[in-house]
């Protein structure tokens, strides 16, 4: 397994209507989870949108983002290699479970069928390939979404309150699953949340916004 | 090869010398037929009656089969829109790529096109089938609302105002204009005429005017030459008296001649009229009118006219249009047109002059009971000068256009 590069967020400043909103200057090592906390409106999601490449043109951003030696902020979203996990699993409703996973696999990936099968087995959902995502439970959907993210072989991951909508019992399981998978994959990750428990489970450094 | 520079100098001169560039000459019939092959003729014809549409469809089939000419029926709701289009094309300098090849026309529209030099011709009298009309004995085929056609339009049908009524509801239908007024008083709301400027409606005005005025001669001269107010005063007095007793008290009028038929069919009217003597009979055959309907012509006679086809000067398919105009005068096409199963429009041919084989085409067996008796049509009044039509229409709209 190749070691993943570090995610550098270099003197990034985001402003709205020339009002400064947030500033951050951090690096995230492979396998490390940086947690960004703050009340709503503090710009957490804006930071995520900026990093992922979806920042609305109404915001102005300065600074640079590097993944290892590669500058990200000048690349279009799909070339940044940053995986996203939202509150909602956002499984494509028109594709089957396997279809969702297949969509994530790089076009020239080998053995797609077996990769999909192994991914599902890993999260205990071996027979779910042909299922309609709408028929899955919340926890199952979250697991498929995680595996979809990993199959797309990202080089860093952005998590936008990924556990907020799960019920309490499930939440702990998912935290464990997500963070262990990220650690095993050796991916730098940035977690945005307002839940202290998320931050503790992530076990990495924490910064507060706002 | 012509030197293009020099050619561009000569071209206007050539155009002056030959006003219609390579216009087909009906006198040279084989050439016309050859040139027509493969052409598509856009025939602009009033499309408000399904029977005429059905006949034109039949003509199109025949033209394709017999002469390899495609005929496209461009359905008009008013012929004047075609006149307007050709005029606009001329004004825009479109002198040889016009969008209309043949127009179904007569009366004031023909006069307007002649006045503005919008017609190709003369061509009609050199058509091979024209002789069958025996024009010397039947001057109406070369006269359109008093104007000589001078070969600029070719006849294809004959119309005459014919009244019809439901004999189950009306015992003695009115036989003249005064009787009509009395009848309308006695049977309010059961008669009307199409809204001016519809041509059937306008013809009703002329019919009434001829009967009511004592200055008949004036109607056959251009309207400017007489005192319009004086001549038409009895007409307006008559209409003023008539309108309150018409359908909807004269607050609205039917859209067209065929619309009268629909209103008869719905039982809203008990007395109506048409330009086609066979109209009622065809309508009975087609379930539109009850079998008790009978047709008649007013005692003093009714207006009749011939309708024609003309070729706009800028038609790009004149040869095809000429072949079509000739086909329309063929015994075959005329007999079809006259048949009740098709349209029921009378022939312009002098049938007694035809050879026996062609005469046989016009045999239709027994007359339909709703049809006009054969002798009734002898009493035809000639159409006034076309300028009267427009003047009457304008005056009517002025008086009754806003209720």
């Amino acid at each position: 397994m190749t070691t993943n590069p570090t995610l550098h967020i270099k003197q990034v400043q985001i402003s709205l209507h020339s009002e400064p909103m947030l500033a951050i200057d951090r690096s995230i090592a492979p396998g490390e989870v940086l947690t960004v906390m703050g009340p709503s409106g503090s710009g957490k999601s804006t930071l995520l949108a900026y990093l992922a490449g979806f920042l609305s043109p109404t915001f102005k951003a300065q600074g640079q983002v590097f993944l290892g030696k590669m500058q990200l902020d000048t690349l279009p979203a799909e070339q940044r290699g940053l995986g996203l996990l939202f509150q909602d699993p956002l499984l494509f409703p028109h594709l089957s479970v396997a279809g969702n996973l297949r969509f994530a696999l790089p076009r020239h990936a080998r053995h797609k069928q077996s990769q999909i099968r192994e991914a599902l087995e890993q999260v205990g959902m071996a027979d779910f390939e042909t299922r309609d995502p709408a028929t899955l439970s919340g926890g199952q959907q979250a697991r498929v979404a995680l595996m979809r993210l990993l199959l797309s072989t990202p080089r860093a991951v952005l998590l936008d309150e990924p556990f907020a909508k799960l019920d309490t019992a499930l939440r702990q399981d998912m935290r464990t699953l997500v963070f262990s998978q990220l650690r095993d994959a050796g991916l730098p990750a940035l977690l945005v949340t307002h839940d202290q428990a998320d931050a503790e489970a992530a076990g990495g450094p924490i910064i507060e916004l706002g | 090869m012509l030197n293009p520079c020099r050619f561009s100098l000569i071209a206007p001169l050539l155009a002056l010398a030959l006003p219609a560039v390579a216009a087909p000459d009906p006198g040279n019939w084989q050439d016309v037929l050859a040139e027509a092959e493969g052409q598509t003729v856009f025939w602009n014809a009033w499309g408000g009656d399904s029977r005429t549409n059905r006949y034109i469809d039949w003509v199109a089939e025949q033209m394709q089969a017999q002469h390899d000419v495609a005929v496209e029926h461009v359905k008009l709701d008013d012929t004047s829109s075609a006149v307007s289009r050709v005029l606009a094309e001329k004004q825009a300098g479109n002198d040889d790529e016009g969008s209309i090849d043949l127009i179904w026309i007569n009366g004031e529209n023909f006069a307007a096109m002649r006045d503005n030099d919008l017609l190709f011709g003369p061509f009609a009298e050199s058509l091979p089938n024209f002789a069958l009309t025996n024009a010397a004995e039947n001057p109406e085929v070369v006269t359109d609302f008093t104007l000589p056609t001078e070969g600029f339009e070719s006849p294809w049908g004959k119309a005459q105002i014919t009244f019809y009524y439901d004999a189950a509801q009306v015992e003695t239908p009115p036989q003249d204009m005064q009787a009509l007024l009395d009848w309308a008083r006695a049977n309010p709301g059961q008669f009307s005429y199409p809204k001016i400027p519809d041509f059937t409606g306008s013809t009703f005005l002329k019919q009434a005017l001829i009967e009511l005025t004592d200055q008949d001669e004036a109607l056959y001269q251009p309207v400017e030459e007489s005192d319009f107010e004086e001549v038409t005063a009895p007409l307006w007095a008559y209409l003023d008296a008539l309108h309150p007793h018409l359908w909807r008290s004269g607050r609205t009028f039917p859209d067209s001649g065929p619309n009268l038929r629909t209103l008869m069919s719905d039982g809203e009217l008990s007395l109506a009229f048409s330009f086609y003597p066979t109209d009622a009979a065809v309508a009975v055959r087609e379930y539109e009118l009850p079998e008790s309907v009978r047709s008649y012509v007013l005692d003093g006679g009714t207006l009749g006219n011939v309708h024609f086809v003309a070729i706009p000067y800028n038609s790009p398919h004149k040869a095809g249009a000429i072949v079509l105009a000739n086909f329309l005068m063929s015994p075959e096409a005329q007999a079809q047109k006259q048949s009740l199963a098709m349209w029921g429009d009378r022939s312009v041919l002098d049938i007694e002059q035809l050879d026996t084989k062609d005469q046989a085409l016009f045999e239709q067996g027994d007359r339909h009971p709703s049809e006009l008796p054969a002798d009734a049509l002898s009493n035809t009044l000639p159409e006034p000068h076309p300028s009267w039509m427009t003047a009457l229409q304008d005056a009517w709209l002025e008086r009754y256009g806003v209720n």
Binding site: F92 | D255, Y287
Partner: protein, 559 residues
């Protein structure tokens, strides 16, 4: 490439409308060298204002536009306020949507056959209820006040406005608003009127303006149902343009400019009304009245919409009966004999019109869909906010057809463009594009941007994300929008007639041409054919996504 789409779209719409308006404005002031007018003068205006009955024409056009829109809006709003999502409400909604597909002319014929003194209603009620054994001599259709015309317009506007409201509502989360207001003691219908309507109105304003513009200047419906002595302004203009006396063309141009003024005046009146209601309405919203009138709204809302639907359905039923009727004496409630003759007579003769109708409609819809999707995709990719320029897209909907189409014909003539299929198709594009945009932009905007963000973060290129994610997710609304466009194209009368010069007959031009005289039976056949085509389009638009996503539960109702 994609970046050019918005500019192309706007040019495509604004240029012809602009050229058309110019070519109407110039002759309105006497200037049109091609027709021998080379000096600016006010003669056309003098001629226009001297025309008998002009005032009445103008008044009817103005009033029918405003009254019909107001009535239609009231019916829709009351229904939505009364609607509680019961099976009955859902049933009514489901019935109304296909009504949108029925072209104006077909509805007009159906209504005329229904309400005429010798129409179906009178036949059904006679002689039993009325004692009539012949039709009463009442001026119902073509009445001078234009009431029949207004009724016809209402029947067509209600489904349109209802669909526009239903499309805009979800983003307002009406259930939450109503629940909240109910918890404060408001009756459900009052809760809807006070809590949802004020937020809904701004979203349906543009469609309402389009309805007003259309209703003040409609031609085909006014020819069938409108007053005749004098007719509405738009119909008069059409007659003047077709007059062989070319002088009249100048007057017609002035009339077209006047029509633009009438439409703008109606829009202005509406806008002033909006301002008043905004003031007065605010007090009403906060006056604390919680229940008064709620029963009337609940009953009235359902009753009125139900009646509208019932009227259109009876009109269709009437058309069907007439299309197979033998002789049918008044007041028999059914024809004495039935026959398929009328269908057999019409069908062979409508092959060309059918082909034209479909080819023009499909081509215009396809081109419009590509252009609109490209524009929306471009905006979505660059996260462009809606711009003021968007208003330009709706120009062809706000400017009355009569006002610029004639100018467009003159413009085409002077460019030596002959009447032909492609011109007709291009003219249809003018109306199809804005409607397609109107019905699709909301769906596009509402699609959760995170779907695409997820796709991109999974490494999908913009095009792959478009084809594999956005398009499938938007399939249902896209197909519905296309069906609306197709229906719209099928119903177009004036553009088809004018730009085709009569050479491109469609089912609609055939049907309206028959209106002036043809037998009711043949008209019924044509009107039914005219209604059938868009209906097939709508059915396909509903059916295809259902079949495609039969095994994907969340794809039902994504749109």
């Amino acid at each position: 490439m994609l970046g050019l789409a918005p500019a192309l779209l706007v040019t495509l719409l604004v240029l012809p409308v602009g050229a058309g308006l110019l070519m109407v404005l110039l002759p309105a002031f006497g200037y049109l060298p091609a027709l021998g007018g080379d000096a600016v003068s006010l003669a056309p205006w003098r001629m226009l204002f001297g025309h008998p009955g002009l005032g009445r024409s103008v008044a009817v056009s103005y009033a029918s536009g405003l009254v019909s829109t107001l009535l239609a809006l009231a019916i829709v709003v009351l229904f939505l306020a009364a609607s509680r999502g019961t099976w009955l409400d859902r049933g009514i909604r489901r019935l109304v949507s296909p009504l949108l597909a029925i072209p104006h002319a077909a509805v007009a014929f159906g209504l005329a056959f229904l309400i005429a003194p010798s129409g179906l209603l009178a036949r059904w009620a006679s002689p039993g209820l009325t004692g009539w054994d012949r039709p009463p001599d009442w001026l119902i259709v073509n009445d001078p006040l234009g009431l029949a015309l207004m009724a016809g317009l209402v029947l067509k506007e209600v489904p349109f406005l209802l669909l526009m409201c239903l499309a805009a509502l979800p983003q307002l989360r009406p259930e939450q608003r109503v629940t909240l207001a109910r918890s404060l003691g408001y009756a459900p219908s009052i809760a809807w009127l006070k809590g949802v309507l004020p937020a809904l109105y701004p979203l349906i304003r543009l469609p309402i303006y389009a309805v007003i513009a259309y209703a003040t200047s409609v031609v085909d419906m006014a020819m069938i149902l409108g007053p005749t002595l004098p007719p509405t302004l738009s119909v008069s203009i059409l007659t003047w343009f077709n007059d062989p006396d070319l002088e009249r063309r100048f007057m017609a141009s002035a009339g077209a400019v006047l029509q633009l003024g009438v439409t703008l005046a109606a829009l202005l009146t509406w806008w002033l009304g909006e301002q008043c209601i905004k003031r007065l309405g605010y007090h009403w919203v906060v006056n604390g009245v919680r229940r008064r009138g709620s029963l009337a709204i609940t009953l009235g809302g359902r009753g009125l919409l139900g009646m509208t639907t019932l009227l259109v359905l009876s009109a269709l039923a009437g058309l069907t009966v007439f299309s197979v009727a033998g002789f049918w004496r008044f007041p028999d409630s059914l024809p004495g004999t039935f026959t398929l003759d009328h269908w057999q007579r019409v069908l062979p003769s409508v092959t060309t019109p059918l082909i034209n109708t479909l080819s023009v409609g499909l081509a215009a819809t396809l081109i419009a869909a590509v252009l609109v999707v490209a524009t929306l995709e471009n905006a979505a990719r660059h996260q462009l906010p809606p711009r003021a320029g968007q208003w330009l897209l709706y120009l062809p909907l706000i400017i009355p057809q009569v006002a610029f189409l004639f100018g467009l014909v003159v413009a085409a003539e002077s460019l030596n463009l002959r009447p032909q299929w492609s011109l007709v198709m291009a003219a249809h594009l003018l109306f199809v594009v804005p409607y397609l945009y109107l019905s699709l932009c909301e769906a596009y905007r509402r699609l959760d941007p995170r779907w695409l963000q997820v796709a991109h973060s999974l490494g999908a290129s913009p095009w792959r994300a478009f084809w594999q994610i956005r398009l499938p997710l938007l399939l249902a609304p896209l197909l519905t929008a296309c069906a609306v466009s197709l229906a719209l194209s099928i119903g177009q009368y004036l553009p088809t007639l004018l730009l085709g010069g009569g050479r491109v007959p469609t089912i609609t031009t055939e049907a309206v041409a028959m209106a002036s005289g043809g037998s009711r039976r043949l008209m019924a056949v044509l009107a039914l054919l005219q209604a059938l085509l868009p209906f097939i389009g709508f059915s396909l638009a509903l059916l295809i996504p259902r079949l495609m996503w039969a095994r994907r539960r969340n794809m039902r109702g994504v749109a």
